[in-house]
């Protein structure tokens, strides 16, 4: 079974911006063009090895900060500023990675298949934290009672790296949350948390604050525990 790999919350990268995204041993430059479409490339310019997330997005291309080499959304080098009238060789390109956005989270590859109830709910990004703990430890914490913000919620696993807290099917409560875990490498795990509400409702400030506080509590608990 393939396991989902979250990279960030949707609101972590705006149009015409680039950020660093990690998936275990892999570093990516994750960027959004002017239309809002997401792209992920190897985080290393093949010219002189510069990390591309330090670069800039302009005219729907990712540009290296060091010498301005410019890459299109297929990863092909289209322009070398030192030689404006020269067409770059097609051997100069960036490896690209598939990314998708769903339920307020950016996923490497496919998003996980959501339970039907969740798929119908509205998702609002809350907060991401990076904790100094292994994935398994964080997985346990996020599915444990520790995270039961409201007593009316119960844990519903989606896959090894994602899950929800949802109201009992018969209850009147109409809110919950979705979490997605990221192996961020170097012993760190990312937790990306989104609030879930019924499609017509927006998440209340109280609920957003409660979720944010709960995430902080998990971080303190996990990092405080003996390795």
């Amino acid at each position: 079974m393939t396991v989902s790999q979250a990279l960030a919350l949707s609101n972590a990268v705006e149009c015409n911006q680039v950020i660093l995204a990690r998936a275990s041993e892999l570093e990516m430059a994750l960027w959004r063009d002017s239309t809002g479409a997401l792209h992920a490339n190897q985080n290393r310019c093949p010219h002189r090895g510069m990390r591309l997330h330090f670069g800039f997005v302009r005219d729907d291309r990712l540009n290296c900060l060091y010498h301005g080499w410019s890459y299109d959304n297929q990863g092909r080098c289209k322009y070398i500023p030192a030689h404006p009238s020269h067409t770059p060789s097609n051997v100069i390109f960036l490896q690209t990675h598939g990314v998708q956005e769903a339920h307020g989270v950016i996923w490497k590859g496919q998003p996980p298949a959501m339970p039907e109830r969740v798929a119908a709910m509205r998702s609002t990004p809350v907060r991401s934290v990076y904790v100094a703990a292994a994935l398994a430890r964080v997985r346990d914490a996020m599915s444990a009672a520790l995270f039961s913000v409201a007593d009316a919620l119960q844990h519903v696993g989606i896959d090894d790296n994602a899950g929800c807290w949802l109201p009992a099917a018969s209850g009147t409560v109409q809110y919950g949350c979705l979490y997605a875990l990221q192996d961020a490498g170097e012993g760190k795990t990312g937790i990306h948390l989104a609030a879930l509400t019924s499609p017509e409702a927006t998440a209340s400030p109280d609920w957003l604050l409660a979720l944010s506080a709960q995430l902080q509590a998990v971080q303190l608990d996990v990092e405080g525990a003996a390795p």
Partner: protein
């Protein structure tokens, strides 16, 4: 790390500090090519020894002072130091930059210093600015007998080439790379027909960590030392951001790892020379694959 065994690195004169950094009677401890050393000053006499794991002084190494800095060499027969005649010019005054710690290999630092292509992007509004990004062809000559790579006829438009510049102008550069750790450049000065002289002197602590020293020989009477130093530090700190984000830190010498453009002729010449002499220190082993450090 222990002291490197690379003879190409060991035969070099290497800067360990500005002369004024080493105080009388106070042991000055630092690291060169992986080896801890200690320098003692008595008047204008300097003595440098390797330090053991207990930091006790051991084998004595050669030391000399020149160009405002203290230099050492581990080998018995050092490769001769670069000759910079401008130091004999009484109209010029020298400022030293102070040591800046940078997490990268000495060769990445040298290449950055040789490179004009980054001026509009890294030193925006100072040494370059879009849309003037084109690098016109220039000449590169490898003088193997002197371990010198010389890049000449380099021209670049600069909005503010120095502290004394108040308008943009075409600036002409000549670069002289001397061995793996030293680069001296000449660039058009504000005074008609004159060239400023600037040198970067890299102290490799180990393969991936350096301290960078340097000097500027100023002709500009209207610029204070402090102003010139601030200008230099502004520019260099912009470079450091880049240098610490290049992967891998050790320099790859093969084009399958990093693809150059024609504008990189000076860097190509430098890498070719590093390959020709078989340099190992600070160099990515050949079998390492693209992206292995990601």
């Amino acid at each position: 790390m222990t002291k490197t065994t690379d003879p190409i690195a060991l035969r070099e004169w290497i800067v360990i500090g500005a002369i004024t950094d080493v105080q009388q009677g106070v042991p000055y401890r630092t690291q060169v090519l992986g080896q801890e050393i200690v320098c003692l000053r008595d008047g204008d006499a300097f003595e440098v020894r390797e330090a053991g794991s207990d930091l006790q002084p051991q084998r004595q190494v050669q030391v000399r002072t020149r160009y405002g800095h203290v230099w050492i060499c581990f080998a018995e027969v050092p490769r001769p130091m670069i000759e910079v005649r401008e130091f004999d010019d009484p109209r010029r005054r020298m400022i030293t930059w102070g040591g800046v710690y940078v997490r990268t290999s000495p060769q990445r630092l040298v290449e950055n210093f040789l490179d004009m292509g980054h001026f509009p992007f890294v030193h925006t509004g100072i040494l370059g600015a879009e849309p003037v990004t084109e690098i016109r062809d220039y000449k590169v000559e490898v003088r193997a007998e002197d371990a010198e790579i010389r890049a000449t006829e380099c021209m670049f438009y600069q909005p503010r080439a120095s502290m004394a510049a108040d308008i943009g102008r075409d600036t002409s550069y000549i670069y002289r790379t001397s061995g793996p750790f030293v680069v001296v450049l000449y660039k058009t000065a504000e005074e008609e027909g004159e060239f400023d002289n600037i040198g970067m002197l890299v102290q490799p602590l180990d393969e991936e960590h350096c301290r960078v020293f340097g000097y500027t020989l100023l002709l500009e009477a209207d610029t204070t030392d402090t102003e010139a130093l601030h200008f230099q530090q502004t520019v260099f700190l912009q470079d450091r951001l880049i240098l610490e984000q290049q992967t891998p830190r050790r320099i790859p010498l093969y084009e399958k790892n990093e693809i150059p453009a024609r504008a990189d002729a000076a860097s190509i010449g430098y890498r070719r020379w590093l390959r020709a002499v078989g340099m190992q220190f600070g160099v990515l082993p050949q079998q390492a694959k693209e992206g292995a450090s990601q």
